[in-house]
Symmetry: C2
Subunit: 548 residues, 2 copies
């Protein structure tokens, strides 16, 4: 049996466009003499469709699309993900389903059993849990069809009481197929591969695993669809970050040899590629071609600039440096050199006039007060306004350049440097930003070495350095990681005896994270590369008291 893994990049809600893509692959599969072509989870509407699922008209459109796919299934089997009406008197109205079409008929509809509802997942918000387990007989094979999370409840990590394959295996299937919508994070590639291999070994069955690819706002789907043999060896693996279509000539009596390219956990190259795809897809899917960013001469904006240049073409990324009286001349030069290295348009727009105008405008109101953070924020916000004005005038989307460390502790100005349509490196700690800069410079200088080597400064006061108000980044990042990703309380972090981090510092940093929840609430969507990014996946109360 020839099975095709169709790993596509869908646009959420673009049911008609996605269907056109799917139909083209069905045709390609027919031409390649494929018996069964497999698409990913909720392929019809793109994953995750979120509250679009609440619209009955949305589900109707999915049903119409499914019918065109059914009609196209003459002489081929098609397995495709879509929401479907549950038709139940009790329970949720929808299932997360896999439709198996063959010879223009619906051979089977398989519903998802395990509905991930944690971190960035909220499937039980929409879907009813399946409790019927039936394999699908097709061309002499008995196929155990499951959907994404259905294959994750095994070993010592059982988040659910039912393991679908434990039920399906009773019917003696000859092969497993899983339709997935599994987003990238830097420790997820290897984990996903290992879990899928474990499934193959546990049930002694080959597994065809189809993931989607592409950036959907903050979520970066990396692809990596697989064919795993019954011993758990990965025989074929689709590309990462690109669409792919692999036909596997498979018969159940052959074992097949490991043929896939190896990727490793925490690979800065994969993070880099994920971010490039994230920027590319965010822009292309909303119909933007050009970006603009504030280029300060610092490491954060430099890395964002380089990523954006790769994603959109350097000529489509406008860099504006907006010096104040506190900016060093080096900063302007470094930003300019970066733009030259990349080949991006570049402007210098000083903020002095705007800043002075605000000072004059507010002089009466502020009589008798001392300069404080207000004036620092005025600089950042004047820059934000200039970028947004440029965006309004020329249609470039503003890229946000904040990193995770400063976003965590609130070392950023709301409506100032926090502005933008997309945060590119907002899920990378400062140390990771440096690592990414070195990766970008792996073949030679792209980001000027002056930028990589200078001491971090916001340049909002004379001679200001980040280290004046924050601990050194290697220390800060470790505390933040244990608090955010590690979900440790302050006492647990104290107990780790991290170098340079005593109880007073640790509690201070945690308080800063907590108190800046209100700022992050208004931050742009952030490309997610870790297993705990700010945004929907970390849903904290704003009005609250924490563990002080």
């Amino acid at each position: 049996m020839n099975i095709a893994l169709a790993q596509l990049n869908y646009i959420i809600g673009d049911i008609e466009g996605n269907t056109t893509k799917i139909l083209a692959e069905v045709d390609a599969a027919k031409a390649a003499n494929v018996d069964l072509v497999v698409f990913s989870e909720l392929a019809i509407c793109g994953y995750p469709p979120k509250d679009l699922l609440d619209y009955p008209s949305f589900i109707e459109r999915c049903e119409l699309a499914l019918d065109t796919i059914r009609i196209a299934s003459n002489e081929i089997g098609v397995l495709v993900g879509s929401p479907s009406l549950s038709g139940l008197a009790k329970g949720k109205k929808l299932y997360n389903s896999a439709f198996f079409f063959s010879d223009q008929k619906l051979l089977a509809k398989v519903n998802k059993t395990l509905l991930p509802t944690y971190d960035i997942f909220d499937e039980y918000r929409y879907f009813e849990t399946n409790n019927v387990f039936e394999c699908v007989d097709f061309k002499g094979e008995r196929i155990a069809v499951t959907i994404c999370e259905d294959l994750w409840n095994l070993d010592n990590e059982k988040l659910y009481h039912v393991t679908p394959m434990d039920e399906l295996i009773k019917q003696n299937p000859t092969v497993m197929i899983n339709l997935s919508g599994s987003p990238y994070s830097y420790n997820h590639v290897e984990k996903r591969r290992t879990r899928m291999q474990l499934n193959a070994k546990t049930y002694s069955l080959p597994l065809f695993y189809v993931n989607q690819v592409g950036g959907n706002t903050d979520l970066l789907f990396d692809g990596g669809s697989m064919f795993i043999n019954r011993l758990g060896d990965i025989v074929e693996e689709c590309e990462f970050y690109n669409e792919d279509f692999k036909v596997i000539q498979w018969d159940s009596s052959t074992l097949y040899e490991d043929n896939h390219q190896e990727y490793y956990d925490y690979d800065i190259g994969l993070i880099h590629d994920a971010l490039v795809m994230g920027v590319r897809d965010y822009f292309s899917k909303v119909g933007f071609k050009n970006a603009v960013l504030g280029s300060s001469g610092g490491i954060d904006s430099a890395v964002v600039h380089a990523i954006a240049a790769e994603a959109l073409g350097a000529e489509n990324v406008k860099a504006i440096t907006m010096p104040s009286k506190y900016s060093s001349s080096g900063s302007v030069d470094d930003a300019q050199k970066l733009a030259q290295n990349l080949g991006s348009p570049f402007s210098i727009i000083p903020i002095k006039k705007a800043f002075d105008a605000f000072e004059e405008t507010l002089a009466d109101e502020f009589i008798g007060t001392e300069p404080n953070v207000t004036e620092e924020n005025l600089q950042a916000r004047s820059r934000g306004i200039i970028l947004m004005a440029y965006s309004n005038k020329f249609g470039n989307m503003v890229l946000n350049t904040s990193n995770k460390s400063e976003s965590a502790v609130g070392y950023s100005t709301l409506y100032g440097d926090m502005c933008g349509g997309l945060s590119v490196i907002g899920d990378l700690y400062k140390e990771q930003v440096y690592e990414l800069a070195r990766f970008i410079n792996r073949y030679g200088e792209v980001i000027p070495y002056e930028i990589v080597n200078k001491e971090p400064s916001a340049e909002l006061r004379p001679d200001q350095k980040d280290i004046d108000s924050l601990p050194p980044y290697p220390v800060l990042d470790k505390i933040l990681f244990h608090y955010i990703e590690g979900k440790k309380g302050w006492q647990e972090i104290v107990d780790l005896n991290l170098e340079g981090a005593d109880e007073i510092l640790i509690r201070k940093i945690i308080r800063m994270v907590d108190r800046n929840e209100y700022k992050r609430f208004q931050a742009p969507p952030t490309l997610r590369i870790s297993h705990k990014a700010f945004g929907f996946g970390r849903s904290m109360p704003i009005v609250a008291r924490y563990n002080h």
Copy 2:
């Protein structure tokens, strides 16, 4: 048996503070000869605690707090909500539980069965589903204890397959007690009351229902705890929007008469009180005393100003009017008169200097371009900067003054009039804002009649009126309501034959709503008064194509 309904206002995460409050009520209950004092759902940590639940140290602190309550339960029964460890090898780590303490012992722990996961609820994100049903015997009564949603699965609206009371009734309980965390929306008061009455009637049992009260960021808990007799009559009802403590001398042989005060569905007075509480609690719970807002002389800022004055004291609400060359002199006068009527400090800060400075600063960059929305946004953003500078300098929190109609269609400027720590009327359509203004003026002019009667204008261009780019608000609001609250697609709305709304207009308005998802993503938290507010309860993809 004397049962006390303890309806308190908790701070999320303030486990120690909440526990102190609970212990004080336990003492008051003892003094009042109460046999059983009942607190609301997750009272220990406040509802909803969101991802704080992911921290093991947070759960440990809840356990410590519970132990102090257990010790205080000498000579009294205490029923209190808290998260608890499930201890399961499979499934989620936590239950949403009710702890029943008596004589310093844990008499019973009841876990929540039905975990609401829709709209603003996400309980399956954290909690395991209960499947054990046992009544609690206490002082000769057999009590069926349930938690909030557990009592909502009856009649024709069964979202779940199990109805906990259908199980518990088999053990012949003599009374029902429900611990709840049920937020206000303008059509929920009557619905909640009716559902609880239906429970009493269905099971022919009296019901003690305890809700929390208070604003928690966007969610407004209205209280309204109840004692309902076995015929379904509401015998006692606690206050709305205030803490309350009611002792009910109850024996199961007496029926009791209806004694409660009636509230009606969609009562603008309840909406008003909800917003006042929302502002008051947002400020008090984060430790702010003073607000600042941009007072344009329009209806939206006027209503926000009046609400804030009532919540915080007029003297604590600074109003700043920021005229441009397009502002009518009437606008400034009206804003000033409003501040005088209320008794708030007031300043006039023209934006001309700031606006001119930006025009000069951007002149080179913008050579050869025509004025467009850029210049309108520059005005709005200059105002935003001034408000934020005032906030930074004096510690007043900026109140956002956008309404739901303009937020829906994106008739607002990101980082301009969209700025602020809290959106007060962001869940009220424009027509509701007028209704609220009339309510505020019910005893005479508070909001100047000039403001109530003038035609809406953003005053960002000469002689600009909202109606130039939007349909009349009565038409717009109806379309929006059917799309947002009603979840209807464009064809369904066309089929309603709304006056003044043809297909072209309806599709245009819907497209505007969809395309501005990115703006709303960065909006401040919005006090929720409807059953479908922007924010967490309406979770839409940003990068998507909708039903064009």
